[in-house]
Symmetry: C2
Subunit: 301 residues, 2 copies
Amino acid sequence: MALMVVDGRLGPALAAAAERAEAALDRLLPSGDDAQSRLYEAMRYACLGGGKRLRAFLVIQSAALFHVAPRAADRVAASVEMLHAYSLVHDDLPAMDNDDLRRGKPSCHKAFDEATAILAGDALQARAFEVLAEPDTHPDPAVRCELVASLGQAAGARGMAGGQMIDLLAEAHKLTEAEVTRLQMLKTARLMTWCCEAGAILGKAPAPLRHALAGYGRDLGLAFQIADDILDELGTLEEIGKTPKKDAAAGKATLVSLLGLERARAQARMLAEQAVGHLDPFGPPADTLRDLVGFVVTRRT
Amino acid sequence: MALMVVDGRLGPALAAAAERAEAALDRLLPSGDDAQSRLYEAMRYACLGGGKRLRAFLVIQSAALFHVAPRAADRVAASVEMLHAYSLVHDDLPAMDNDDLRRGKPSCHKAFDEATAILAGDALQARAFEVLAEPDTHPDPAVRCELVASLGQAAGARGMAGGQMIDLLAEAHKLTEAEVTRLQMLKTARLMTWCCEAGAILGKAPAPLRHALAGYGRDLGLAFQIADDILDELGTLEEIGKTPKKDAAAGKATLVSLLGLERARAQARMLAEQAVGHLDPFGPPADTLRDLVGFVVTRRT
């Protein structure tokens, strides 16, 4: 297995997913000139024109495995990108990680103000669930309910928000390796897992295939987070588009600080191999998802 | 019509709804002793043991008109109380209305800290949608999807969050009477409207009955907000459980400051009569909802 090779398929597939997600977001986010248009602008600022759109890519690629209508996949992709954007807006707030930069531009509360950023995050989360529940997302309402309920779980106190809580507490006391892994599982891997499962839910896939995709998403998410920590340690502001060495400065333990760079890299490689292994039942149609694993652990931005 | 009379039916009905909502919230909010248990505590602090539970009451009473299973109504009531509690937690933040008191006790960011309060609000919103989408809420997934989509709309940029945005902008420029009414429509009446419609959605009511309940909820919500402004103007901290005269201190226009106390009271009475009028198609079973209108415009807390 050549994890380091990002072959020619991946670049165009990532670009295509990003373009589809951007178009869907533009269509689904509120706009207009009324009394609260400042809120629409902040929501659009937080969501549009940036980001790797990895989560949209995961939804679109996993949905394609089950021949889901592209329009349905695009709505779900936009929905998860809204949820991800809301979490970044709130994480960047002064009371949270206090970061002035995001995706190479001022974070939402710097471009607008704190109150607007809080409300924009809140409204993005509401819109994410609303979009999933709307009839255009899937003809079967049972499928839409399952998307909403599982995203609620992935985003809530036992998912992304819970992970961010642990992350904040980590500034006060040093976490162990097991605690850091739990943090990363909740904060990052849960939502990536959901993205991959979303394709299976949309495609009404049999349980074993859904579980295989969930396993792929989880291991990919954990590998992604370690790669992120390594970038945070080694990267420059220009490369990563946000303030580097934030975790070290805040006294937070990461797998890099706990294991050292080499063992952290080995851990990421091991997770990457596991992720690829989960894709065995899907054969060649999953090649783009396989390629993504190499990209995620070797990316420089 | 004797709007001032709160007869003997209403008190026990309000108490019963509050008890049912409290029990459902206790059941549906996360708990446990794990790494993020501080987040669960903040969510419970924000939701449990306080409030008039008007929104839960509206869901429970409107659902009863269509003989909806009480367990289903209780879940929806808990869900809207979570959403309402999240909005209060975020509204009280220093960057927003900066209020240290809520329901007579320290607001969430004072009892915990700002970051925890932001996350608790976020996780409450996610849980509210998750609960609606779960199979226990209604056997028909189309009903659950309609609840999720319509709550998303009522809570988002064109609903509650949009209203809060206008409210924040109101500190910078004086609003007209029409703008204040729009603000109150979005910030308060949209969610109360939803509560009343939720009963009709759960009961698969015919469209005219659903619209009648929506009209009731809207007029009740607008009357409620005027009554709230009057209390804010006249009440003491002990009576209202939060800092009085906040709007005046912030230089915000309310219907009281624009119209004066007497015309504001007359407006509330007019809305109250309209609200009661919407209930005509329901006959005696809607008597408790009729009684509520008098309570809302004459309440002292």
